[in-house]
């Protein structure tokens, strides 16, 4: 039996204090700056709850299994069952995202798929970079950790969370937070890279302002074809691609409106609350306050930058090949970070040429990038696990 006035103050470490400040900073960014509030607000609260000592809220079921009195904590339970052992939560998020995604722009112009592939080069660069840091003795990232760090460059929250939970659970909080933070920051990260790699004339290129209309049938066949082809080619991408495309099929079929609305509303909202709390709670100060954390953040930024560059450079190639006018800016949207990266392309394009309306064009590579990262994650998982 403890003392009655056993407050948390004496157990508070410096790591906790710094993380509490960081948690408050995320809450501030979410509310004041509207940086990805749906993710960063609950992540911020999760960080607070994980760094206030003595709560027991992080106790995992396996830690209390033999203990008759002990109950597992709410966040420990969700982390163990929803993330580590069954990875249910990120897959349900993907289900809801599928039910919210419009693949029309990609179906109308399927060659934009390639931009979504090119932008995945950021994953590769960060992966090799993480290994190189190990090579030079600066960090001890193994190949699994390198893969989890690389996937930050996929710029998709649930993909990052899923792969990290499978390959490097000790990095879970930090890779997810890096992904969401940089996604919130694409408006700062991408424009300089786009400008560096393109001429003003390229950025001014006016693309035809409307895409062809996509028929109901094409929209229905799209998720089915993706399920069949992608999962046959990369089986381990099924948990992500399967759920994503199932959600989209529910949406586009038009015959199960109640289901697709629930998937895109109550289900994804409830899961988001729980998952993001868990992500925040995966960052206890003493595990985060390490030089490796800064390296992960640095490599994540490199990944975003290289992914942007990869998309833009392939965009330049496509402009060169294409018969119609083609603006390479939209390649930057291939990193995904839906829909922020597409909006960045829109803004940068319109700044150079007010006639430009690139948003719809950029949505193609933008959603292709989601599929692209899920493919890379599936390939890495198939090879490494």
């Amino acid at each position: 039996m403890g003392d009655f006035f056993q407050t948390g103050f004496d157990q508070l470490t410096w790591g906790n204090v710094i993380m509490l400040v960081i948690g408050l900073a995320f809450i501030w960014l979410a509310i004041k700056k509207r940086w990805e509030p749906y993710e960063l607000l609950p992540i911020g609260v999760g960080i607070l709850l994980a760094n206030l000592p003595g709560t027991g809220i992080l106790l995992q079921p396996q830690q209390v299994a033999g203990d008759a009195m002990g109950s597992a904590g709410l966040l420990g339970t969700f982390i163990e069952y929803g993330l580590l052992r069954y990875t249910i939560l990120p897959q349900l998020i993907f289900l809801g995202l599928g039910a919210m995604t419009d693949f029309g722009p990609l179906i109308a112009n399927p060659k934009l798929f390639l931009l979504g592939a090119a932008a995945q080069v950021g994953i590769v660069v960060a992966f090799l970079g993480a290994l190189a840091l190990g090579h030079f003795g600066l960090a001890d990232f193994g190949i699994n950790e390198a893969a989890a760090i690389g996937i930050i460059g996929g710029a998709d929250g649930p993909t990052t969370i899923y792969l990290t939970s499978q390959l490097a659970p000790e990095l879970m909080g930090i890779t997810a937070v890096a992904a969401y933070s940089y996604m919130a920051m694409v408006a700062f990260i991408q424009p300089p890279i786009i400008r560096m790699l393109t001429t003003k004339k390229e950025r001014e290129t006016y693309m035809q302002s409307q895409l062809r209309e996509v028929s109901h049938r094409e929209r229905i066949l799209f998720p089915i074809v993706c399920i069949l082809l992608v999962i046959l080619l990369v089986p381990k991408s099924a948990p992500l691609v399967g759920m994503f495309m199932f959600g989209n099929l529910m949406r586009e079929s038009g015959v199960v409106e109640r289901l697709s609305k629930s998937a895109a509303n109550s289900l994804i909202n409830i899961v988001t609350i729980i998952l993001m709390l868990c992500i925040g709670a995966s960052m206890p100060g003493d595990e985060i306050m390490k030089p490796e954390t800064l390296m992960v953040l640095g490599l994540g930024l490199v990944a975003f930058a290289c992914g942007t560059a990869g998309g833009v450079l392939l965009g330049k190639v496509m402009k060169w090949i294409s018969k119609e006018p083609f603006n390479p800016i939209i390649g930057a949207a291939g990193v995904s970070a839906v829909p922020m990266a597409a909006r960045v392309a829109q803004h940068v394009g319109q700044k150079e040429n007010p006639r430009n309306f690139l948003l719809m064009h950029a949505m193609g590579p933008n959603v292709a990038g989601v599929i692209g990262s899920a493919v890379v994650a599936g390939a890495l998982l198939g090879y490494l696990s």
């Binding site: 592939a117 992966f127 001890d140 190949i143 074809v225 493919v375 390939a379």
Partner: protein, 65 residues
Amino acid sequence: METAAINWAEAWKVSGMGFGLVFMVLAILAVAVWLIGVALRRFDGTNTEAVEESKEEESPPKAEA
């Protein structure tokens, strides 16, 4: 995070093949989606693309105004 001598051969293989794979898969999807679109429009006898393009010629000036 256990320290391990990095197997650079493997690392480059994973990198190259991973990046190649995503290009291949998305290229296959692009071709499949394009073929389906062409097939459906031929099958249905509709040419929505032409319709859209004629629309398109009208709209940009409005957007500028």
